[in-house]
Symmetry: C2
Subunit: 400 residues, 2 copies
């Protein structure tokens, strides 16, 4: 029998216990052994809970129990998750986590400690919830020079954008509704400003390159300025507006950004709606792949953690290796990247706009506006043109 412990009995942690016990038989068949949850660490008690007898309040009980070989860290945050993870790994206990914050901040260090102690640090659930993407990056995509990753990596914002597109509602209205339903946090900044997606694309780009991408270096732009009128234009162009996390390899380096983007209806990402997430990866050999599923939610995320637990169970005493060292990757300056932009200005500013852009495709929806898709230009040039025009109503990157 293989004994595990779960740190944090919140949404994901309780989901992990549920998946392990509800699918006990199939898990046993596939691992070749029973997996038991010996302890659940939480500050709270859970009187009446089916598993209340497993609850402990002192992490040392878990750390000092040699029977526990796998620890699920589903606490979130870096404190005390970092210390707990590190001490577990130093004792040779494998750690499986859903904690993107910790992985983004200390991934390479924890992977190194795991390796040195013949155990594993696995983090499938940290990006894309239930979508398998971390393991595919480390296995299926291992033969590839990855050229580009485009991801819809945040469920809250995708829910909001889908609702805005389908119902013509404003950002504020939909956000409020999402908060009332519990789909969005009371303080929604991490989601709607793109920081959550930024952490996730930083992790994916680190795996793509083997070096460390610092989240602070990732350009992030949120969805708070997107309006219902923008969606009217998107519809007229047969495009969607999605919050994309994009990582792209060019001859002169790798650029990473999180930004709302217009994306053509023909693109597989354009049909990813509601709380679904997807990661679209382009390899130099395999071409385009997409991984699609629920980017959040109790059981989907827990299932990803349990898939890691099963891998640890099958490889006890050895290390599942990742190529991700702590050398910092210097990102390409976004200002030097080129792309098309969708731009709206007042009808009166049409000549000013045409003085900047050489080759525009006009999109007619509102008579009092001049709206267009630009030619491919440098981000830096676009920023200058924006200043010259002075009063740009809206500008959205185009990623077809």
């Amino acid at each position: 029998m293989i004994q595990a412990a779960v740190l944090g009995y919140g949404t994901v942690g309780s989901g992990v216990v549920e998946v392990i016990y509800d699918n006990k038989e199939v898990i046993k068949e596939r691992v070749g052994d029973d997996i038991e949850v010996k302890y659940i660490l939480d500050l709270r008690d859970f009187p009446g809970d089916k598993y209340e007898s497993k609850v402990v309040h002192d992490f040392n009980v878990i750390l000092e129990d040699p029977e526990v070989s796998i620890v699920c860290e589903t606490m979130g945050g870096t404190k005390p998750a970092y210390d707990f993870t590190k001490s577990a790994l130093l004792k040779g206990k494998s750690v499986c986590t859903s904690n993107k914050e910790l992985v983004a901040a200390h991934g390479p260090e924890l992977l190194k400690i795991a390796k040195e102690n013949n155990c594993s640090y696995l983090f499938e659930a940290s990006v894309g919830g239930g979508i398998p993407i971390i393991r595919p990056m480390n296995t299926a995509l291992a033969p590839e020079n990855i050229q580009k990753i485009k991801g819809i990596l945040n469920g809250t914002t995708n829910y909001i954008l889908t609702k805005m597109a389908k119902e013509g509602a404003s950002f504020e209205e939909v956000l409020k509704e999402a908060q009332d339903k519990g789909y969005a946090e009371r303080n929604p900044e991490a989601d709607v400003e793109g920081h959550d997606a930024g952490r996730k694309i930083a992790i994916l780009t680190s795996l793509m390159t083997g070096k460390t991408v610092s989240f602070d270096d990732v350009y992030t732009e949120g969805i708070t300025k997107i309006t219902t009128k923008d969606f009217e234009y998107a519809k007229a162009m047969n495009r969607s507006i999605k919050l994309l996390a994009v990582s792209e390899r060019a001859n002169d380096g790798i650029s990473v950004m999180v930004s709302p983007c217009m994306i053509g209806a023909e693109h597989a990402l354009s049909g990813v709606n509601d709380v679904f997430n997807a990661v679209y990866v382009t390899g130099n050999m395999v071409g385009d792949l997409m991984f699609y599923g629920k980017g959040a939610g109790k059981l989907a995320t827990a299932s990803a953690v349990v898939s890691d637990v099963m891998e640890c169970a099958k490889t006890l005493g050895s290390n599942v290796a990742f190529v991700w060292n702590d050398e910092k990757l210097t990102l390409k300056d976004l200002a030097t990247c080129t792309r098309k932009f969708f731009v709206r200005v007042a009808a009166a500013d049409k000549e000013k706009a045409l003085a900047c852009f050489k080759n525009v495709e006009e999109i007619k929806v509102y008579d009092d506006e001049f709206a267009f898709v630009s030619e491919e230009i440098k981000e830096a040039d676009f920023a200058n043109y924006k200043k010259e025009i002075g009063n740009v109503i809206s500008a959205i990157r185009v990623e077809d």
Copy 2:
């Protein structure tokens, strides 16, 4: 240095050599060692080929060389692939294959031999070309009781159906064009009659259940009877017509079929076009996942083989385990399955049709026809109704 051999220097085999050498650096970094192709087995010589010096004509050269630890079987067919694979595994050499025919026919036996000889039999490329689906079934989806698999598993038919939908061309016209372009075989039966997809869904269902699904038990219906008028109706209903391979778990067993199906535009599979393939899997915990990519093609398929080679290289001397035994899975009789059907009859037969079906949603496109989507009924009842009506122009399963 890890030495591999490639059996069969055709499309996929030459792709494997290309991926290994063109991405040599990144492969070395991720495996932690160089991978070299020591031999290429083929009946032919390849004068002038970059790797002609590696070509051998006698399999025993490979078999008896203790330096070769990994064999890529990219020959196809069961003879002599079966004998070659078996003898390599018996010598403790891992085998990575793209050969769905062999996997479908002898998977469990070869997996057992691999296990007994501390090596691996890996077959990522056998289903879905470059799409990672075999490994996810064995890892990410390991904690799941899989409820349903719906796949677009054949590139040729998806190319044909996409062309028919977009251009209003007939099956015969598009098939001929696909043959001229080399996208379809001169003898297209295995593709257009659904046999290729049938082998693939048999493999996936075996992995889903751990037992063996015999391809001969899989109901297969091809796309040869689909007409341009069917597509007119599909368009009117905002549905696509796709050749789906479907495996579904119910209380009374697992049903498997390959059949053209109408699928709603909102479904993620509906936007899978051209030579792209996708596998949509529903787990009892993770919910819906989709894996999307190129289902065929030289480098995509080769990349999948090389991902297996890298896994073997990282686990030399040990076995990557699969739960797939040779106990035969008795499939649920398709006649007892229920679903909706899209049906077209002559306008004159409207009353006859309405005498059979209780609750139809009429679709008006052609005045001389009565077309509708039925209520959910048993396949057996539908077969009877079809006989009663006598002259059904077209009947297509609905899988929304």
